[in-house]
Symmetry: C2
């Protein structure tokens, strides 16, 4: 079995981990395998030339959970199954980041950071976890993991997704009316949705206004889910209290973008969940072995749905 590998980052680390997880395969860097027609491609941000050159692929496996960039690539073959990363060690990291943001909001850490900068000693009243209901937008592996971690620590949690789902023990909302109902009752909204035609710009001025005065927004999924200008306007006016942003429509975030210096924005450089090489490659190896045996696997992208 031949596998071509391409990653825009950490290629050497990915190759070692994938070769270790799949000792029965020959794992080639794509640029060194231009004479080989491989069985599988394992990719993150591949050049269009890869798909043009590899014509015999039985499946394309993404090293990331979000496949919106791959789906937007006109070179992506229409008839080859595309498989996205599911969890792959990322869910515990999303739990950590989501819980960090919820605790930061609960204990007013952005307020105290601003007071420290101003040299002011100004204690604020206590609030308890039940005073900070959280909306988790997205009911996939990441959204469910974050929602469960928040609930386990005592935060009231509601989960929203586009389509109805059964989520054991979690209050679930769906559709436009459900989104409004959930946002209106939440003091913190955490975006963990896939980026699709339906979700692009979902958090626009109209829907951000459904959050109560002073609420906070967390985006751990894709920058394009949020209308940047609407978010800035809501933060500028004080309607929203704070935003925790890990993802951006353009990455790295361009120099001079207002997000860098906005006092009500805490940003990190797309690190909320980093794919750990070993866990991710173990998952890919397992999926390739199942495909070889003709078994069903999780994470096959429904192209009409977009994830």
């Amino acid at each position: 079995m031949d596998i071509v590998l391409y990653s825009a980052k950490d290629l050497q680390e990915w190759r070692q981990a994938l070769a270790a997880a799949l000792p029965e395969a020959r794992v080639h860097r794509w640029s060194e395998a231009l004479d080989i027609q491989a069985d599988y491609a394992v990719v993150w941000k591949p050049p269009a030339a890869l798909f043009a050159q590899q014509r015999g692929l039985r499946a394309i496996l993404s090293l990331g959970a979000g496949v919106n960039a791959l789906l937007a690539d006109p070179a992506l073959p229409a008839d080859v199954p595309l498989v996205r990363m599911e969890d792959g060690g990322m869910a515990p990291q999303m739990e950590e980041y989501a819980l960090y943001c919820a605790l930061s909001e609960l204990r007013r850490l952005p307020h105290y950071a601003a007071e420290q900068r101003a040299g002011r000693w100004s204690p604020r009243p206590l609030r308890s976890r039940s005073d900070l209901p959280v909306a988790v937008l997205g009911a996939g592996v990441m959204g469910r993991a974050a929602a469960r971690a928040l609930r386990a620590f005592g935060f009231p949690v509601g989960v929203w997704s586009r389509s109805p789902k059964t989520l054991e023990g979690l209050a679930h909302f769906t559709g436009e009316a459900g989104l409004r109902e959930l946002l209106e009752r939440s003091r913190l909204a955490i975006a963990l949705l896939p980026l699709t035609a339906d979700t692009t710009g979902l958090l626009d001025a109209r829907r951000l206004a459904w959050l109560p005065e002073g609420a906070a927004l967390v985006n751990l999924a894709r920058g394009e889910l949020v209308d940047d200008e609407a978010l800035l306007a809501a933060l500028d006016s004080g309607r929203l209290g704070h935003a925790y942003l890990d993802v951006f429509a353009s990455e790295p975030l361009p120099a001079g973008h207002r997000f860098w210096s906005h006092p009500s924005i805490s940003l990190t450089p797309h690190v909320a969940a980093l794919t750990p090489f070993d866990a991710a490659c173990a998952q890919i190896a397992d999926k390739i072995r199942r495909l070889e045996r003709g078994e069903a696997i999780g994470g096959v992208v429904d192209r009409s749905r977009g994830y």
Copy 2:
């Protein structure tokens, strides 16, 4: 039964909550009860004149958990039992603050905040919870609660206290050798100790140097536990990565103090655990009723030990 109440802060709120919790008692503001010899005094930062005037007290109950200031008051009668607040709704807040600091360190949020200020996009490698062993200094109600919350979320935790204790399921260290062993293996140390003659200046240059390079310190107990100059030197040199400080030797922290503007310090104005009026007064009411029935109560201060 007569109770005199004094609090340097929120006196009206305390009086309402205490009167509601103890309907069988007459609750007086001390300044309005100068002609009364009360049975109990419930106090936070009382003036020396209170003890000089009240000569028939059967017990003095503190509205705070730390009684170092009361013990240092020469007017405090030597023969009247002094009772400190135990938990009283503060333990869940300590859990929140401790977990917030551990998550902030784990996910390198101070680093990313500095990078944001500098306008730099610089992702750092992943680390997992098992990479961040935490030392909790203090095995009282607060220390045990914080340690259990951290362990429940997956952080390796060790607890240190001056005297040997049995702590179910928590690794426990004691004595000077135990403190060194625990600090040397921890990447985050959280001070939750009472302030006594033994613990004043405990975290000095010599003991801070036991923490590994780049480790972080959290102080949620009393400012005097830490040698400020030693801490600043360790942060200036980069030996320690960050400090999260909620308490200070002088409060409010004086204007111009280097802590305000140090890039490696995040500070809050003594809010890690605020005593909630209702829960605290329910505890005090319960203790007074037990004392009236001649029963033993928790939280009686051992003056030789200092807490």
